[in-house]
Amino acid sequence: MTRPGDILLSVKDISLRFGGVRALTDVSFDIHEGEIFAIIGPNGAGKSSMLNCINGFYHPQEGTITFKGAQRRQMRPHEAAAQGISRTFQNIALFKGMTTLENVMTGRMLKMRASLAEQALYIGRGRREEIEHREKVEEVIDFLEIQSIRKTPVGRLPYGLQKRVELARALAAEPELLLLDEPMAGMNVEEKEDMCRFVLSTNHELGTTIALIEHDMGVVMDLSDRVVVLDYGKKLAEGTPDEVRGNQDVIDAYLGVSHD
Protein backbone atom coordinates (compact mmCIF):
# COMPACT_ATOMS: atom_id res chain seq x y z
CA MET A 1 0.00 0.00 0.00
CA THR A 2 2.78 2.38 -0.85
CA ARG A 3 1.49 5.86 -1.24
CA PRO A 4 3.84 7.52 -3.62
CA GLY A 5 4.52 11.11 -2.63
CA ASP A 6 7.33 13.51 -3.26
CA ILE A 7 10.59 12.82 -1.52
CA LEU A 8 10.58 14.65 1.80
CA LEU A 9 13.91 13.57 3.14
CA SER A 10 16.74 12.03 1.25
CA VAL A 11 19.73 10.52 2.97
CA LYS A 12 22.72 9.96 0.74
CA ASP A 13 25.90 8.03 1.50
CA ILE A 14 25.96 8.90 5.18
CA SER A 15 29.01 7.74 7.13
CA LEU A 16 29.45 8.38 10.82
CA ARG A 17 32.46 7.44 12.90
CA PHE A 18 33.19 7.74 16.61
CA GLY A 19 36.95 7.56 16.73
CA GLY A 20 37.69 4.22 15.13
CA VAL A 21 34.18 2.86 15.43
CA ARG A 22 32.12 3.06 12.27
CA ALA A 23 28.55 3.58 13.38
CA LEU A 24 27.19 4.12 9.88
CA THR A 25 28.72 3.35 6.51
CA ASP A 26 27.40 4.76 3.22
CA VAL A 27 23.73 4.57 4.13
CA SER A 28 21.26 6.00 1.63
CA PHE A 29 17.47 6.02 1.58
CA ASP A 30 14.56 8.28 0.81
CA ILE A 31 11.52 9.05 2.89
CA HIS A 32 8.45 10.08 0.92
CA GLU A 33 5.81 12.53 2.01
CA GLY A 34 2.97 10.99 3.93
CA GLU A 35 4.44 7.56 4.52
CA ILE A 36 5.34 5.63 7.60
CA PHE A 37 8.93 4.59 7.24
CA ALA A 38 10.53 2.07 9.56
CA ILE A 39 14.21 1.62 10.33
CA ILE A 40 14.90 -1.82 11.71
CA GLY A 41 17.92 -3.90 12.51
CA PRO A 42 19.59 -5.79 15.32
CA ASN A 43 20.94 -4.01 18.38
CA GLY A 44 23.87 -1.76 17.60
CA ALA A 45 23.00 -1.59 13.91
CA GLY A 46 23.12 2.22 13.96
CA LYS A 47 19.40 2.95 13.95
CA SER A 48 19.44 5.58 16.67
CA SER A 49 22.61 7.07 15.22
CA MET A 50 20.74 7.46 11.94
CA LEU A 51 17.93 9.39 13.64
CA ASN A 52 20.50 11.47 15.50
CA CYS A 53 22.10 12.40 12.20
CA ILE A 54 18.78 13.36 10.69
CA ASN A 55 17.88 15.75 13.43
CA GLY A 56 21.33 17.21 13.78
CA PHE A 57 22.48 15.77 17.07
CA TYR A 58 25.32 13.89 15.42
CA HIS A 59 27.26 15.25 12.50
CA PRO A 60 28.13 12.60 9.93
CA GLN A 61 31.63 12.82 8.46
CA GLU A 62 30.46 12.03 4.94
CA GLY A 63 27.29 12.19 2.96
CA THR A 64 24.40 14.61 2.68
CA ILE A 65 20.93 14.92 4.02
CA THR A 66 18.32 16.70 1.91
CA PHE A 67 15.19 17.83 3.68
CA LYS A 68 12.45 19.60 1.71
CA GLY A 69 14.91 20.14 -1.11
CA ALA A 70 17.54 21.85 1.05
CA GLN A 71 20.77 19.93 1.25
CA ARG A 72 23.04 20.02 4.25
CA ARG A 73 25.60 18.03 6.11
CA GLN A 74 25.55 19.73 9.48
CA MET A 75 23.04 21.57 11.52
CA ARG A 76 22.25 22.08 15.17
CA PRO A 77 19.29 20.22 16.67
CA HIS A 78 17.32 23.39 17.26
CA GLU A 79 17.69 24.24 13.59
CA ALA A 80 16.28 20.87 12.66
CA ALA A 81 13.38 21.56 14.98
CA ALA A 82 12.85 24.91 13.31
CA GLN A 83 12.65 23.24 9.89
CA GLY A 84 9.93 20.88 11.00
CA ILE A 85 11.61 17.76 12.33
CA SER A 86 10.49 16.59 15.78
CA ARG A 87 11.31 13.41 17.57
CA THR A 88 10.82 11.24 20.60
CA PHE A 89 13.49 9.25 22.38
CA GLN A 90 14.30 5.72 23.27
CA ASN A 91 14.81 6.74 26.88
CA ILE A 92 12.11 9.25 27.59
CA ALA A 93 13.45 12.78 27.44
CA LEU A 94 10.71 14.79 29.10
CA PHE A 95 11.17 17.75 31.40
CA LYS A 96 10.48 15.99 34.65
CA GLY A 97 9.86 19.01 36.81
CA MET A 98 7.19 20.45 34.52
CA THR A 99 3.55 19.51 34.11
CA THR A 100 2.19 17.68 31.08
CA LEU A 101 0.72 20.93 29.80
CA GLU A 102 4.00 22.78 30.17
CA ASN A 103 5.88 19.97 28.47
CA VAL A 104 3.56 20.00 25.51
CA MET A 105 3.69 23.80 25.40
CA THR A 106 7.47 23.58 24.90
CA GLY A 107 6.64 21.95 21.58
CA ARG A 108 5.16 25.29 20.48
CA MET A 109 8.30 27.14 21.50
CA LEU A 110 9.44 27.90 17.97
CA LYS A 111 6.12 29.34 16.93
CA MET A 112 6.02 31.95 19.67
CA ARG A 113 7.23 35.42 18.91
CA ALA A 114 6.44 37.57 21.93
CA SER A 115 9.24 39.85 23.05
CA LEU A 116 10.76 39.69 26.50
CA ALA A 117 8.88 42.80 27.61
CA GLU A 118 5.55 41.40 26.40
CA GLN A 119 6.21 38.19 28.29
CA ALA A 120 7.38 39.99 31.43
CA LEU A 121 4.28 42.17 31.56
CA TYR A 122 1.95 39.51 30.14
CA ILE A 123 0.44 41.98 27.70
CA GLY A 124 -0.08 42.11 23.95
CA ARG A 125 1.42 39.16 22.14
CA GLY A 126 2.72 37.74 25.39
CA ARG A 127 -0.81 37.11 26.62
CA ARG A 128 -2.42 36.44 23.25
CA GLU A 129 0.11 33.81 22.25
CA GLU A 130 -0.16 31.93 25.50
CA ILE A 131 -3.88 31.51 24.89
CA GLU A 132 -3.70 30.78 21.15
CA HIS A 133 -1.06 28.15 21.57
CA ARG A 134 -2.86 26.72 24.55
CA GLU A 135 -5.79 26.03 22.21
CA LYS A 136 -3.54 24.23 19.76
CA VAL A 137 -1.93 22.27 22.57
CA GLU A 138 -5.33 21.27 23.91
CA GLU A 139 -6.14 19.83 20.50
CA VAL A 140 -3.06 17.63 20.73
CA ILE A 141 -3.94 16.68 24.28
CA ASP A 142 -7.42 15.66 23.15
CA PHE A 143 -5.99 13.78 20.20
CA LEU A 144 -3.76 11.68 22.43
CA GLU A 145 -6.33 11.37 25.20
CA ILE A 146 -4.21 12.75 28.01
CA GLN A 147 -6.65 15.38 29.28
CA SER A 148 -6.76 13.98 32.78
CA ILE A 149 -3.05 14.38 33.42
CA ARG A 150 -2.84 17.91 32.07
CA LYS A 151 -1.58 19.46 35.27
CA THR A 152 0.38 16.54 36.68
CA PRO A 153 4.18 16.86 36.81
CA VAL A 154 5.38 14.29 34.29
CA GLY A 155 7.94 12.85 36.70
CA ARG A 156 5.01 11.27 38.55
CA LEU A 157 3.42 9.63 35.51
CA PRO A 158 3.76 5.94 34.65
CA TYR A 159 6.05 4.97 31.79
CA GLY A 160 3.40 4.42 29.14
CA LEU A 161 1.82 7.82 29.74
CA GLN A 162 5.20 9.52 29.70
CA LYS A 163 5.77 8.09 26.23
CA ARG A 164 2.45 9.52 25.18
CA VAL A 165 3.27 12.94 26.60
CA GLU A 166 6.52 12.85 24.70
CA LEU A 167 4.63 12.13 21.51
CA ALA A 168 2.28 14.99 22.36
CA ARG A 169 5.20 17.36 22.72
CA ALA A 170 6.57 16.30 19.35
CA LEU A 171 3.15 16.67 17.71
CA ALA A 172 2.56 20.09 19.24
CA ALA A 173 5.32 21.40 17.01
CA GLU A 174 3.21 20.37 13.97
CA PRO A 175 6.20 18.67 12.40
CA GLU A 176 6.46 17.63 8.79
CA LEU A 177 8.70 14.76 9.73
CA LEU A 178 8.23 12.93 13.00
CA LEU A 179 11.03 10.68 14.22
CA LEU A 180 10.01 8.04 16.74
CA ASP A 181 12.77 6.13 18.48
CA GLU A 182 11.25 2.88 19.75
CA PRO A 183 7.86 4.35 20.62
CA MET A 184 6.60 1.02 21.95
CA ALA A 185 9.62 -0.23 23.84
CA GLY A 186 8.80 -1.57 27.26
CA MET A 187 5.04 -1.41 26.82
CA ASN A 188 2.47 -4.09 27.40
CA VAL A 189 0.21 -5.27 24.59
CA GLU A 190 -2.59 -2.89 25.45
CA GLU A 191 -0.33 0.13 25.60
CA LYS A 192 1.28 -0.95 22.33
CA GLU A 193 -2.11 -1.10 20.66
CA ASP A 194 -2.92 2.38 21.91
CA MET A 195 0.37 3.70 20.67
CA CYS A 196 -0.08 2.05 17.26
CA ARG A 197 -3.46 3.67 17.00
CA PHE A 198 -1.97 7.10 17.76
CA VAL A 199 0.84 6.62 15.27
CA LEU A 200 -1.58 5.58 12.56
CA SER A 201 -4.04 8.37 13.21
CA THR A 202 -1.23 10.89 13.32
CA ASN A 203 -0.25 9.70 9.90
CA HIS A 204 -3.78 9.48 8.47
CA GLU A 205 -5.52 12.42 10.07
CA LEU A 206 -2.69 14.92 10.40
CA GLY A 207 -0.81 13.69 7.34
CA THR A 208 2.51 13.70 9.17
CA THR A 209 5.37 11.75 7.67
CA ILE A 210 6.77 9.36 10.23
CA ALA A 211 10.11 7.60 10.51
CA LEU A 212 10.25 5.10 13.33
CA ILE A 213 12.61 2.61 14.89
CA GLU A 214 10.97 -0.43 16.39
CA HIS A 215 11.96 -3.89 17.50
CA ASP A 216 8.53 -5.46 17.54
CA MET A 217 8.37 -6.95 14.03
CA GLY A 218 4.62 -7.41 14.18
CA VAL A 219 4.18 -3.71 14.79
CA VAL A 220 6.65 -2.75 12.09
CA MET A 221 5.08 -4.97 9.46
CA ASP A 222 1.58 -3.74 10.27
CA LEU A 223 2.31 -0.05 10.51
CA SER A 224 4.90 0.80 7.99
CA ASP A 225 4.65 1.52 4.32
CA ARG A 226 8.30 0.93 3.72
CA VAL A 227 11.19 -0.47 5.71
CA VAL A 228 14.94 -0.08 5.64
CA VAL A 229 17.11 -2.67 7.36
CA LEU A 230 20.45 -1.74 8.88
CA ASP A 231 23.10 -4.11 10.14
CA TYR A 232 26.53 -3.11 11.43
CA GLY A 233 25.95 0.39 10.13
CA LYS A 234 25.27 -0.75 6.58
CA LYS A 235 22.05 -0.88 4.64
CA LEU A 236 20.96 -4.45 4.10
CA ALA A 237 17.66 -3.99 2.35
CA GLU A 238 14.92 -1.50 1.63
CA GLY A 239 11.37 -2.00 0.44
CA THR A 240 7.85 -2.82 1.48
CA PRO A 241 7.44 -4.99 4.57
CA ASP A 242 6.72 -8.02 2.39
CA GLU A 243 9.79 -7.52 0.23
CA VAL A 244 11.99 -7.11 3.27
CA ARG A 245 10.52 -10.14 4.95
CA GLY A 246 11.55 -12.29 2.05
CA ASN A 247 15.06 -10.90 1.74
CA GLN A 248 17.70 -13.55 2.45
CA ASP A 249 20.27 -11.08 3.88
CA VAL A 250 17.71 -9.84 6.37
CA ILE A 251 16.81 -13.32 7.47
CA ASP A 252 20.49 -14.09 7.93
CA ALA A 253 21.10 -10.96 9.95
CA TYR A 254 18.20 -11.67 12.27
CA LEU A 255 18.46 -15.40 12.59
CA GLY A 256 22.17 -15.75 12.18
CA VAL A 257 23.80 -17.77 9.44
CA SER A 258 26.15 -20.67 9.62
CA HIS A 259 29.44 -20.03 7.92
CA ASP A 260 30.37 -23.40 6.60
Partner: protein
Protein backbone atom coordinates in the same frame (compact mmCIF):
# COMPACT_ATOMS: atom_id res chain seq x y z
CA UNK B 1 53.09 53.31 25.80
CA UNK B 2 54.57 53.27 29.23
CA UNK B 3 51.67 51.17 30.46
CA UNK B 4 52.31 48.66 27.70
CA UNK B 5 55.95 48.57 28.71
CA UNK B 6 54.98 47.96 32.33
CA UNK B 7 52.60 45.19 31.35
CA UNK B 8 54.54 43.33 28.71
CA UNK B 9 58.23 44.04 29.15
CA UNK B 10 59.17 45.32 32.55
CA UNK B 11 58.06 42.25 34.59
CA UNK B 12 60.20 39.98 32.48
CA UNK B 13 63.16 42.31 32.69
CA UNK B 14 62.80 42.23 36.46
CA UNK B 15 62.72 38.45 36.44
CA UNK B 16 65.95 38.24 34.51
CA UNK B 17 67.72 40.96 36.43
CA UNK B 18 66.88 39.54 39.82
CA UNK B 19 66.50 35.78 39.43
CA UNK B 20 66.96 35.11 43.14
CA UNK B 21 63.80 37.10 43.91
CA UNK B 22 61.91 35.24 41.21
CA UNK B 23 62.97 31.91 42.63
CA UNK B 24 61.89 32.98 46.09
CA UNK B 25 58.53 34.12 44.77
CA UNK B 26 58.15 30.83 42.97
CA UNK B 27 59.03 28.82 46.03
CA UNK B 28 56.61 30.83 48.13
CA UNK B 29 53.94 30.23 45.51
CA UNK B 30 54.66 26.55 45.18
CA UNK B 31 54.44 26.00 48.91
CA UNK B 32 51.01 27.57 49.13
CA UNK B 33 50.25 25.66 45.95
CA UNK B 34 50.99 22.42 47.78
CA UNK B 35 48.29 23.36 50.28
CA UNK B 36 45.77 24.00 47.54
CA UNK B 37 46.78 20.67 46.03
CA UNK B 38 46.15 18.80 49.24
CA UNK B 39 42.67 20.26 49.59
CA UNK B 40 41.97 19.64 45.92
CA UNK B 41 43.14 16.07 46.33
CA UNK B 42 40.33 15.43 48.79
CA UNK B 43 37.85 16.89 46.32
CA UNK B 44 39.11 14.67 43.52
CA UNK B 45 38.96 11.52 45.64
CA UNK B 46 35.33 12.05 46.48
CA UNK B 47 34.42 13.21 43.01
CA UNK B 48 36.09 10.22 41.39
CA UNK B 49 34.40 7.72 43.64
CA UNK B 50 30.96 9.19 44.04
CA UNK B 51 30.56 11.92 41.46
CA UNK B 52 29.87 14.30 44.31
CA UNK B 53 31.45 17.66 44.39
CA UNK B 54 32.20 18.05 48.07
CA UNK B 55 32.16 21.73 48.86
CA UNK B 56 32.85 20.89 52.51
CA UNK B 57 36.35 19.55 51.82
CA UNK B 58 37.87 22.87 52.82
CA UNK B 59 36.00 22.75 56.11
CA UNK B 60 37.08 19.12 56.54
CA UNK B 61 40.66 20.38 56.51
CA UNK B 62 39.85 22.91 59.15
CA UNK B 63 37.74 20.56 61.20
CA UNK B 64 40.40 17.86 61.21
CA UNK B 65 43.08 20.33 62.19
CA UNK B 66 40.87 21.79 64.92
CA UNK B 67 40.29 18.39 66.44
CA UNK B 68 43.94 17.52 66.24
CA UNK B 69 45.09 20.75 67.85
CA UNK B 70 42.28 20.70 70.38
CA UNK B 71 43.24 17.22 71.49
CA UNK B 72 46.88 18.18 71.72
CA UNK B 73 46.01 21.20 73.82
CA UNK B 74 44.26 18.83 76.18
CA UNK B 75 47.59 17.11 76.67
CA UNK B 76 47.15 14.20 74.29
CA UNK B 77 50.32 12.94 72.65
CA UNK B 78 50.52 14.03 68.98
CA UNK B 79 50.51 10.48 67.64
CA UNK B 80 47.51 9.54 69.74
CA UNK B 81 45.81 12.78 68.75
CA UNK B 82 46.48 11.92 65.12
CA UNK B 83 44.92 8.50 65.52
CA UNK B 84 41.89 9.83 67.37
CA UNK B 85 41.37 12.49 64.74
CA UNK B 86 41.43 9.87 62.01
CA UNK B 87 38.79 8.06 64.04
CA UNK B 88 36.72 11.23 64.23
CA UNK B 89 37.02 11.84 60.49
CA UNK B 90 35.93 8.26 59.80
CA UNK B 91 32.96 8.67 62.09
CA UNK B 92 32.16 11.90 60.30
CA UNK B 93 32.36 10.09 56.97
CA UNK B 94 29.93 7.51 58.29
CA UNK B 95 27.49 10.13 59.53
CA UNK B 96 27.67 12.11 56.31
CA UNK B 97 27.04 8.95 54.34
CA UNK B 98 24.04 7.84 56.40
CA UNK B 99 22.37 11.18 57.00
CA UNK B 100 23.13 13.12 53.86
CA UNK B 101 24.31 11.02 50.94
CA UNK B 102 22.08 8.01 51.40
CA UNK B 103 18.81 9.95 51.38
CA UNK B 104 19.96 11.97 48.38
CA UNK B 105 21.14 9.09 46.25
CA UNK B 106 20.26 9.51 42.56
CA UNK B 107 19.53 13.21 42.95
CA UNK B 108 20.88 15.86 40.63
CA UNK B 109 24.58 16.62 41.20
CA UNK B 110 23.64 20.22 41.83
CA UNK B 111 21.38 19.19 44.72
CA UNK B 112 24.17 17.12 46.25
CA UNK B 113 26.53 20.01 45.81
CA UNK B 114 24.19 22.28 47.72
CA UNK B 115 23.87 19.63 50.42
CA UNK B 116 27.63 19.68 50.88
CA UNK B 117 27.42 23.45 51.33
CA UNK B 118 25.05 22.62 54.17
CA UNK B 119 27.60 20.19 55.59
CA UNK B 120 30.25 22.89 55.36
CA UNK B 121 28.18 25.36 57.35
CA UNK B 122 27.24 22.80 59.94
CA UNK B 123 30.82 21.69 60.49
CA UNK B 124 32.07 25.22 60.72
CA UNK B 125 29.60 25.98 63.48
CA UNK B 126 30.15 22.63 65.13
CA UNK B 127 33.92 22.88 65.12
CA UNK B 128 33.84 26.34 66.59
CA UNK B 129 31.35 25.33 69.26
CA UNK B 130 33.60 22.46 70.26
CA UNK B 131 36.95 24.14 70.16
CA UNK B 132 36.35 27.89 70.04
CA UNK B 133 37.24 30.32 67.29
CA UNK B 134 40.78 31.38 68.28
CA UNK B 135 43.85 30.95 66.13
CA UNK B 136 45.73 27.91 67.38
CA UNK B 137 49.32 27.15 66.57
CA UNK B 138 50.23 23.60 65.69
CA UNK B 139 53.33 22.25 67.37
CA UNK B 140 54.04 18.79 66.10
CA UNK B 141 57.77 19.13 65.93
CA UNK B 142 57.98 19.84 62.22
CA UNK B 143 61.25 21.76 62.10
CA UNK B 144 60.59 25.27 60.86
CA UNK B 145 63.84 27.07 60.32
CA UNK B 146 65.21 29.23 57.59
CA UNK B 147 67.56 27.44 55.25
CA UNK B 148 69.78 29.40 52.94
CA UNK B 149 70.58 27.92 49.63
CA UNK B 150 73.51 29.25 47.72
CA UNK B 151 72.55 29.25 44.08
CA UNK B 152 74.78 30.48 41.32
CA UNK B 153 72.92 33.79 41.03
CA UNK B 154 72.40 34.64 44.68
CA UNK B 155 71.23 33.37 48.00
CA UNK B 156 67.77 31.91 48.36
CA UNK B 157 65.77 31.56 51.54
CA UNK B 158 63.70 28.42 52.07
CA UNK B 159 61.61 27.41 55.10
CA UNK B 160 62.28 23.84 56.10
CA UNK B 161 58.61 23.35 57.00
CA UNK B 162 57.71 24.15 53.40
CA UNK B 163 60.07 21.50 52.14
CA UNK B 164 58.57 19.09 54.61
CA UNK B 165 55.07 19.88 53.35
CA UNK B 166 56.21 19.21 49.83
CA UNK B 167 57.59 15.81 50.80
CA UNK B 168 54.39 14.87 52.63
CA UNK B 169 52.28 15.89 49.63
CA UNK B 170 54.41 13.86 47.25
CA UNK B 171 54.18 10.87 49.57
CA UNK B 172 50.39 11.16 49.87
CA UNK B 173 49.90 11.42 46.16
CA UNK B 174 52.04 8.41 45.41
CA UNK B 175 50.30 6.33 48.05
CA UNK B 176 46.87 7.29 46.80
CA UNK B 177 47.75 6.63 43.20
CA UNK B 178 49.04 3.18 44.13
CA UNK B 179 45.99 2.60 46.31
CA UNK B 180 43.63 3.44 43.46
CA UNK B 181 45.40 1.29 40.92
CA UNK B 182 46.58 -1.78 42.77
CA UNK B 183 44.26 -2.56 45.67
CA UNK B 184 40.86 -4.22 45.42
CA UNK B 185 39.27 -1.34 47.31
CA UNK B 186 40.82 1.12 44.89
CA UNK B 187 39.47 -0.83 41.93
CA UNK B 188 36.07 -0.97 43.54
CA UNK B 189 36.17 2.77 44.04
CA UNK B 190 36.95 3.36 40.41
CA UNK B 191 34.18 1.01 39.38
CA UNK B 192 31.69 2.85 41.55
CA UNK B 193 32.78 6.16 40.11
CA UNK B 194 32.13 4.87 36.63
CA UNK B 195 28.63 3.53 37.14
CA UNK B 196 26.86 2.96 40.45
CA UNK B 197 24.41 0.41 39.19
CA UNK B 198 26.93 -1.59 37.25
CA UNK B 199 29.18 -1.66 40.29
CA UNK B 200 26.30 -2.87 42.43
CA UNK B 201 25.46 -5.59 39.99
CA UNK B 202 28.94 -7.08 40.07
CA UNK B 203 28.73 -7.22 43.83
CA UNK B 204 30.58 -4.17 45.04
CA UNK B 205 29.00 -3.12 48.33
CA UNK B 206 28.03 0.47 47.70
CA UNK B 207 27.16 0.81 51.37
CA UNK B 208 30.66 0.91 52.68
CA UNK B 209 32.52 2.14 49.69
CA UNK B 210 31.34 5.71 50.14
CA UNK B 211 32.22 5.65 53.81
CA UNK B 212 35.70 4.49 52.88
CA UNK B 213 36.25 7.15 50.30
CA UNK B 214 34.96 9.92 52.54
CA UNK B 215 37.18 8.63 55.32
CA UNK B 216 40.19 8.65 52.99
CA UNK B 217 39.30 12.20 52.04
CA UNK B 218 39.10 12.96 55.75
CA UNK B 219 42.59 11.57 56.19
CA UNK B 220 43.92 13.72 53.37
CA UNK B 221 42.14 16.66 54.97
CA UNK B 222 43.90 15.96 58.26
CA UNK B 223 47.29 15.85 56.56
CA UNK B 224 46.52 19.11 54.79
CA UNK B 225 45.20 20.63 57.99
CA UNK B 226 48.34 19.82 59.95
CA UNK B 227 50.63 21.17 57.27
CA UNK B 228 48.59 24.26 56.90
CA UNK B 229 48.15 24.74 60.58
CA UNK B 230 51.91 24.44 61.11
CA UNK B 231 52.36 27.27 58.65
CA UNK B 232 49.57 29.65 59.53
CA UNK B 233 47.98 28.35 62.73
CA UNK B 234 44.58 26.73 62.70
CA UNK B 235 42.02 29.45 62.09
CA UNK B 236 38.84 30.02 60.22
CA UNK B 237 40.52 31.97 57.49
CA UNK B 238 41.59 28.54 56.30
CA UNK B 239 38.12 27.80 55.02
CA UNK B 240 38.19 30.78 52.61
CA UNK B 241 41.65 29.85 51.42
CA UNK B 242 40.38 26.34 50.89
CA UNK B 243 37.80 27.68 48.42
CA UNK B 244 40.71 28.16 46.05
CA UNK B 245 40.83 24.43 45.63
CA UNK B 246 37.83 24.90 43.29
CA UNK B 247 39.70 26.78 40.55
CA UNK B 248 42.58 24.38 41.08
CA UNK B 249 40.23 21.56 40.18
CA UNK B 250 39.04 23.32 37.05
CA UNK B 251 42.63 23.68 36.00
CA UNK B 252 43.68 20.15 36.82
CA UNK B 253 40.50 18.36 35.85
CA UNK B 254 38.01 16.98 38.32
CA UNK B 255 38.97 13.36 37.95
CA UNK B 256 42.72 13.50 37.93
CA UNK B 257 44.88 13.09 41.02
CA UNK B 258 48.04 14.33 39.31
CA UNK B 259 45.88 17.11 37.88
CA UNK B 260 44.93 18.26 41.37
CA UNK B 261 48.57 18.40 42.39
CA UNK B 262 49.86 20.15 39.30
CA UNK B 263 46.86 22.46 39.20
CA UNK B 264 47.55 23.46 42.78
CA UNK B 265 51.18 24.18 42.06
CA UNK B 266 50.36 26.20 38.96
CA UNK B 267 47.76 28.25 40.79
CA UNK B 268 50.00 28.78 43.81
CA UNK B 269 53.03 29.83 41.78
CA UNK B 270 50.96 31.74 39.21
CA UNK B 271 49.17 33.93 41.70
CA UNK B 272 52.34 34.83 43.57
CA UNK B 273 54.20 35.69 40.39
CA UNK B 274 51.24 37.70 39.08
CA UNK B 275 50.87 39.53 42.38
CA UNK B 276 54.56 40.43 42.59
CA UNK B 277 55.22 41.40 39.01
CA UNK B 278 51.87 42.74 37.83
CA UNK B 279 49.52 43.02 40.80
CA UNK B 280 51.54 45.23 43.11
CA UNK B 281 53.12 47.54 40.54
CA UNK B 282 50.06 47.96 38.32
CA UNK B 283 46.86 46.92 40.06
CA UNK B 284 47.35 48.01 43.67
CA UNK B 285 47.79 44.47 44.87
CA UNK B 286 45.45 41.92 46.44
CA UNK B 287 45.13 40.21 43.07
CA UNK B 288 45.60 36.87 44.82
CA UNK B 289 41.93 37.16 45.80
CA UNK B 290 40.76 36.54 42.27
CA UNK B 291 43.66 35.44 40.10
CA UNK B 292 42.96 31.73 40.45
CA UNK B 293 39.25 32.17 39.68
CA UNK B 294 39.79 34.25 36.59
CA UNK B 295 42.34 31.74 35.28
CA UNK B 296 39.80 29.00 35.96
CA UNK B 297 37.15 30.93 34.07
CA UNK B 298 39.41 31.28 31.05
CA UNK B 299 39.99 27.55 31.23
CA UNK B 300 36.25 26.94 31.36
CA UNK B 301 35.96 28.72 28.04
CA UNK B 302 38.66 26.85 26.21
CA UNK B 303 39.24 23.58 27.97
CA UNK B 304 36.41 22.82 30.36
CA UNK B 305 37.69 19.38 31.21
CA UNK B 306 40.92 20.88 32.59
CA UNK B 307 44.48 19.90 31.83
CA UNK B 308 44.17 16.27 32.79
CA UNK B 309 40.44 15.61 32.99
CA UNK B 310 38.56 13.20 30.81
CA UNK B 311 36.63 14.69 27.96
CA UNK B 312 32.94 14.85 28.70
CA UNK B 313 30.87 13.03 26.10
CA UNK B 314 27.11 13.38 26.20
CA UNK B 315 24.64 10.87 24.83
CA UNK B 316 20.95 10.97 24.25
Amino acid sequence: METLYLIFIDPFVQMVVEPAFLVEVLIGGLTSGVMYSLVALGFVLIFKASGIFNFAQGIFVLFAALNFVGLMDLGVHPILAFVITIGIMTALAFVVDRLVLRPLVNQDPIILFMATIGIAFFLEGFGETLWGGDVRPVRVGIPDEALFWEAGFGEILVQSADLFAGVIAAFLVTTLALFFHFTPVGRALRAVADDHQAALSVGIPLNNIWVIVWAVAGFVALAAGIMWGAKLGVQFALSTIALKALPVLILGGFTSIPGAIIGGLIVGAGEKVFENYWGVPLLEGATEDWFAYIVAMIFLFFRPQGLFGEKIIERV
